[in-house]
């Protein structure tokens, strides 16, 4: 797709990372109650990560864990409250407008709902060519050529080029959304729940496509998902988030074979599996993971460890200190003060 020569035109970076974040924080001010007492939602607290080219970092967590807020910071759609986002060695948070504009071409997004993310009044071809028309000096004929080539790469046929989004199934639309995200040959694609709205047989097709495209283009993915079975398939590394904080960070194999954080264990135990026995197993499993209650309000997160109110291993000390991410093996870290004890 992109030759090394083209790459060097765009950036002279020699960073081994496509993406780094350092101590990323995002707080939102909200009005609490009718009479507008201000309150702060701490949507993201101290998130640091690094991602190499052609690798996939999965961000896992339930509603309200901050995974989509993280996506918006990385995509430079919002300015973080504190911390830095570094894309291909260039600090996006302190960069001037022109640099940020250039960096945005390197970071593209694919969203969950392919029905909402394509303009219903534009033909697929127009949707694909638009990023080129805005960002490049290519002629109309060249844009059309690239658009058609991309359509073929995502497994759609040339006749689809002149059709409107409503003429496609969900899986086909997600293919179009992926094609559009790749038109500018980005270094990084942030995929926010890209297969959650799809049926399982179609989900498999789209996951395969994402993996094929990564092999041929070297694009890196930040893959946001709540589905651990999907993550186990596609990720190289995984971070598990809860209430805005990273609970655990590990290479995929280590995370699934030897999860360290009680929250990761609970997530794994809660995921329904076909291979499990029925009935008794479901009851036993719920008892074992024993996640009482639900997510606390992000307006008033618990002191110390944010997970402690639902953690089966919580002790008094968990309320006193915010547990740091401590090494638990090669490239493996967990934010739990009792991780060694609970083995």
């Amino acid at each position: 797709m992109t030759t090394p020569a083209q790459r060097s035109e765009r950036s002279t970076s020699v960073s081994p990372w496509v993406l780094e974040t350092h101590g990323l924080k995002k707080h939102y001010a909200v009005a609490a109650g009718v009479f507008g007492k201000r309150a702060t939602v701490r949507a993201l607290e101290d998130v640091s990560l690094a991602l190499a080219p052609a690798r996939t970092l999965a961000v896992v967590g339930e509603s309200g864990c901050g995974k989509s807020t993280l996506a918006r910071q990385i995509a430079m759609l919002e300015t973080p409250t504190a911390g830095r986002v570094v894309v291909a060695g260039v600090d996006a948070t302190s960069a001037d407008a022109a640099t940020r504009h250039a960096l945005r071409k390197d970071v593209q997004m694919v969203f969950q709902n392919p029905f909402a993310s394509l303009n219903p009044r534009k033909k697929i071809g127009q949707a694909l060519e638009e990023p080129l028309a805005i960002n490049t000096a290519l002629t109309r004929a060249e844009r059309g050529e690239r658009g058609r080539a991309m359509l073929a790469r995502v497994g759609l046929s040339a006749e689809h080029y002149r059709r409107y989004p409503h003429m496609f199934s969900g899986g086909q639309r997600q293919r179009v959304a992926i094609a559009r995200a790749l038109m500018l040959e980005p270094r990084l694609v942030i995929a926010d729940e890209p297969v959650s709205a799809l049926d399982v047989s179609v989900q498999a097709q789209v996951l395969n496509l994402l993996m094929d495209l990564q092999e041929s283009t070297g694009v890196a993915y930040v893959f946001i998902s709540h589905n651990l079975a999907v993550v186990e398939r596609i990720a190289d590394e995984v971070i598990v988030m809860y209430l805005g904080r990273v609970m655990e960070r590990a290479p995929k194999a280590a995370l699934f074979a030897a999860p360290r954080h009680p929250y990761t264990r609970a997530l794994l135990a809660s995921t329904p599996r076909v291979d499990a026995a029925r009935g008794e197993a479901a009851l036993a499993r719920a008892a074992r993971s024993a996640l009482a209650g639900e997510l606390p309000s992000p307006l008033a997160p618990p002191s110390g460890c944010v997970f402690r109110t639902r953690c089966p291993y919580a002790i008094a000390r968990c309320g006193e200190v915010v547990p740091p991410l401590e090494p638990a093996g090669a490239a493996h870290a967990a934010a739990c003060i009792r991780q060694a004890e609970i083995g």
Binding site: V202, A229, P272, G279, R285, S289
Partner: protein, 328 residues
């Protein structure tokens, strides 16, 4: 199945939606039975007809939809011969139901107590005080913490998981013998989903209710159901016990569904997947509905539609069932 008459009997159910000079067949000749206290899962992808099947059992298919069946019966009573009033009395009484999205199923303008007491009042006599006590008891039954206080809140003050528990409390308010749950945990986070499934199973056992669980999630079905119906394009393509279905699928579609699960693909990075898409209203093939996508397709499959054949202890709609001799 059971020697005792089934609690729910469905025989040759078809639901059509007229569209111009043709009609969309959403449910195509579906027959099954649910025994008392039995947990039956109905699995399928979008457009498989699983939700429309449930709605037609409840008498909730809107105009212009047309429901035909040889027989639809609950506890030996013919649902099609009942008056509208009798049928309504059955709903929320002996048959409870839960839908996917609790936020749209609860009325935002009334408190939890009001809505629960309303459900109780529809089918039970008793004083206001007695109904309130019953509502409180129900909230405790569905394991809502701090139930006394939750009675007085409005739906928007509840989380998704909590709202779904309230829906479940309403569904079981009149001690139903059958609960139909359409994707009851799909909108919930996994840790909350696990709590909800455990709760559903506990109540089902304690009360001896039959449960029809409609879902797209094979993992949920594997953990909850005793018997499973797999639907494709409006038809039942396989019917088997959960153990049989997941160990030895007989229909190529069931096999493909299982193969496309990420967890079934340990070792190889690429997932197995079925090419193509579910046929729509206008491109239903003449033969087997899976024939354009089936990896094992033969001429016979394209020529005529197979009926459900008995294969071992299962039923499969296939001339060439997996791991068994072809049908004559």
């Amino acid at each position: 199945m059971n020697a005792a008459p089934a609690l729910l009997e469905v025989d040759r159910l078809t639901v059509e939606f007229p569209a111009g000079d043709t009609s969309l067949v959403a449910v195509d000749d579906v027959s099954f039975a649910v025994g008392a206290g039995e947990v039956v899962g109905i699995v399928g992808e979008s457009g498989s007809g699983k939700s429309v099947t449930a709605l037609s059992l409840l008498g909730l298919v809107d105009e212009p939809g047309r429901v035909h069946a040889e027989r639809l019966a609950f506890a030996g009573r013919d649902l099609q011969r009942m008056s509208a009033a009798e049928r309504r009395a059955l709903l929320g009484g002996e048959i409870g139901m839960i839908f996917q999205d609790p936020m749209t199923s609860l009325n935002p303008s009334f408190t939890v107590a009001f809505q629960l007491m309303e459900a109780i009042a529809l089918h039970e006599r008793g004083s206001r005080r007695a109904r309130r006590a019953r509502a409180l008891e129900l909230l405790k039954d569905v394991e809502i913490a701090d139930a006394e206080r939750r009675l007085e809140v409005f739906p928007h003050q509840l989380s998704g998981g909590m709202s779904q528990r309230v829906m479940l409390a309403m569904a079981i308010a009149c001690n139903p013998r059958l609960v139909i749950a359409d994707e009851p945990t799909t909108a919930l986070d996994v840790t909350v989903q696990a709590q909800m499934l455990a709760l559903l199973l506990r109540l089902q056992r304690e009360r001896g209710m039959a449960l029809v669980l409609i879902t797209h999630d094979l993992g949920v079905v594997a953990e909850v159901a005793q018997r499973v119906l797999v639907m494709y394009a409006g038809q039942i393509v396989e019917s088997a016990t959960a153990a049989e279905l997941f160990a030895t699928p007989r229909h190529p579609y069931t096999e493909a569904l299982l193969a496309s699960l990420p967890e079934r693909n340990a070792g190889n990075r690429r997932l197995a997947s079925l090419a193509g898409v579910v046929p729509g209203a206008y491109d239903r093939p003449a033969g087997c509905l899976l024939s354009p996508r089936c990896p094992y397709v033969r001429d016979r499959c394209r020529a005529s539609r197979p009926p459900l054949f008995a294969v071992g202890a299962s039923l499969a709609r296939c001339y060439y069932p997996l791991g068994a001799p072809p049908q004559p």
